[in-house]
């Protein structure tokens, strides 16, 4: 998923090569044999389901195995008028809106700090990136417990700090308005390591003499941050935001495990509703139509990403 941006670079390079290196290659079928095993699996597990899903979206195909029949645009019409689907899409948008700013701003702050504190670099990187490699269910088991209203460690420290009284513990995951925030906080903790490493790598490519030159001109740290560092991180930020958008549209695991979409469907997201429609409601046809709506949305963001980053590299 994450490495799309590298792809475009390959194409021009490959295109330019033949003139320089006298082409030893003749057109033959040999190359196809190398590509074929991958392509066969790719056709079966990616191309075929893509079309099968489109076909199912026009049928009343069910998980129960009864013979499906063609129902035209009924599923699509139903999806457009389905309040629960809109609610799920809305929640996905809310999650994106809540989670993207902290995931961008905090990872820049972390990266700036770690970039300065280089001698402790390995420990800091380890601590901040470690959660990223942990399976989602481990993350949710730990955080569900941290969020326990009565006896959970979060509320305990909120009480110690005097932010809340022990008589009225904050309800986190079971509260309609706070549940999404709770999931967002967990997600930030879990995934920020990736963005942090992206920023750290970008920071380390900025040559030191730029700073030294500007220091001679009398620029202080704050000034350097705003007129050198942040502008040079623009591309990374664009990348982080686009990757975040795509990841947010695909969000499911945390909500499924922490809140099951509740309370009152306040954290039910797009994939979750597809899951419910298809695997709990047995409506493969309808779930396929819903999937396609999401498919198109993700596709649009991906195309934006593709254009944004291939142009800069050209």
């Amino acid at each position: 998923m994450t490495v799309h941006t590298e792809a475009p670079a390959a194409a021009p390079a490959a295109a330019e090569r033949p003139p320089r290196v006298p082409a030893p290659r003749r057109r033959s079928w040999t190359g196809l044999w190398f590509v074929l095993p991958f392509f066969a699996a790719y056709a079966l597990f990616l191309i075929w389901p893509t079309f099968l899903g489109l076909y199912y979206s026009f049928t009343d195909k069910s998980l129960t195995g009864r013979t499906p029949s063609w129902i035209g645009l009924d599923n699509w019409a139903e999806a457009l008028g389905d309040e629960r689907a809109w609610n799920a899409l809305g929640n996905t948008a809310v999650f994106t809106l809540y989670s993207t700013p902290p995931l961008v701003v905090l990872s820049i702050v972390f990266a700036l700090m770690v970039n300065r504190a280089r001698r402790a670099g390995w420990f800091l990187r380890l601590a901040i990136f470690a959660p990223y490699v942990i399976p989602v269910s481990v993350v949710t088991i730990i955080w569900t417990w941290i969020y326990q209203p009565d006896g959970g460690i979060l509320n305990h420290y909120l009480e110690v700090l005097g932010v809340q009284s022990p008589d009225a513990p904050t309800i986190w995951l079971q509260d309609e308005h706070r549940a999404m925030w709770a999931v967002v906080i967990t997600t930030v903790w879990w995934t920020i390591g990736f963005n942090f490493l992206l920023y750290l790598a970008a920071l380390q490519t900025i040559p030191q003499d730029v700073y030294e030159a500007s220091a001679i001109d009398g620029a202080n740290w704050w000034r350097q941050l705003w007129s050198i560092t942040l502008p040079l991180l623009k591309r990374t930020t664009a990348l982080v935001i686009v990757l975040q958008l795509i990841a947010s549209l695909r969000i499911f695991d945390q909500m499924y495990l922490m809140t099951s979409g509740g309370p009152n469907r306040a954290t039910e997201v797009a994939i979750h509703y597809i899951y419910i429609a298809g695997f709990e409601g047995y409506r493969i046809g309808y779930a396929s139509a819903l999937s396609y709506v999401l498919f198109v949305l993700i596709m649009i963001v991906s195309i934006v990403q593709f254009r944004l980053f291939s142009r800069k590299e050209a």
Binding site: E6, A10, T30, G31, V133, F252
Partner: protein, 293 residues
């Protein structure tokens, strides 16, 4: 091991800077803040570890919050092993992730080599179709994919869990790009010596591709190990579940046994934390590479 890793990053710049500025108040503040932050970031894991080492009574809600167990105990871990399912999931995850990693590497290396070194009829179209696949989100395909795997009678099998994860177009790209940059002179020499294509790939190209193969392998393994949605659909039988699914669906439902839950969490986190510690360098570089190109 890890201390060495910092060297390559700023060999030239750091000493210069350090000579210029002696440890200033600013530096002290930055170091303190950064280390405090890292510790805060580790707290959830440390809290889980601390709880997993308490007795069930000491860990239960309503007890006061304390970090050092008063009554050190491995009770949580012991009951976990007595139940046995955690071990089964760990084995399942290892098997599935290994199949995915080996197959992905094999399929993608062959395909990337084919695209990099040969010209064949239809190459452009096949390549374009794979490019298009970059934009297809796997999550949006779960419904028809589930149907296909079901039709192939692969639900609740290792193959059903693994096979659909073995076709990442991204990896073909990364490898092709790398192969494109490998000079052809070596191969020409090998070919003059009478080596066939597979032989050239195996004994000329692959030995030159160590780091990229390691990166692709590690990321594939981690991705597959942590995959949740697909195994959730395919492995409905608890004995076929992978670790994330088993922990989420079965263990997550234990409820009030906190010491045991946290022991499960710690054991669940451990395999990949070890992978991360061992391959820290490759992983950090791999992530960095996403943004730098």
């Amino acid at each position: 091991m890890t201390a060495v890793l910092d060297k390559p990053e700023a060999p030239a710049a750091a000493p210069v800077r350090r000579r210029r500025k002696r440890p200033t108040a600013g530096a002290v503040i930055v170091y303190t803040a950064a280390i405090a932050l890292a510790v805060v970031w580790l707290l959830p894991l440390l809290w889980a570890l601390s709880t997993s080492l308490k007795t069930e009574t000491e860990a239960s809600l309503g007890q006061d919050i304390h970090w050092i167990p008063r009554d050190w105990s491995l009770e949580g871990y012991r009951t976990l092993f007595e139940r046995g399912d955690h071990l089964v999931w760990m084995v399942n995850s290892t098997v599935v992730s290994s199949i995915v990693t080996v197959l992905t590497l094999t399929l993608c290396v062959l395909a990337a080599y084919g695209f990099s070194r040969f010209d064949f009829p239809g190459k452009k179209i096949v390549f374009a179709v794979i490019i298009a696949g970059l934009m297809v989100p796997g999550e949006a395909l779960i419904v028809p994919l589930f149907d296909i795997v079901n039709a192939l009678n692969l639900s609740n099998t290792y193959w059903g869990l693994a096979l659909p994860q073995t076709v990442p177009p991204v990896m073909v790209f990364i490898l092709k790009r790398f192969f494109d940059a490998v000079p052809r002179d070596y191969e020409e020499a090998a070919k003059i010596d009478g080596a066939g294509h597979l032989r050239v790939l195996w004994s000329v190209i692959l030995p030159l591709s160590g780091p990229i193969l390691a990166a692709v392998g590690i990321f594939t393994f981690i991705g597959s190990w942590n995959n949740f949605l697909w195994p959730l659909l395919v492995a409905t039988d608890p004995s076929m579940m992978t670790l994330p699914v088993g922990l989420g669906v079965v263990t997550g439902g234990y409820g009030l046994l906190y010491a045991q839950n946290m022991a499960a969490a710690i054991l669940g986190a451990l395999p990949l934390l070890i992978v991360f510690l061992v391959f820290q360098k490759q992983i950090v570089k791999g992530v960095a590479g996403v943004g730098l190109k």
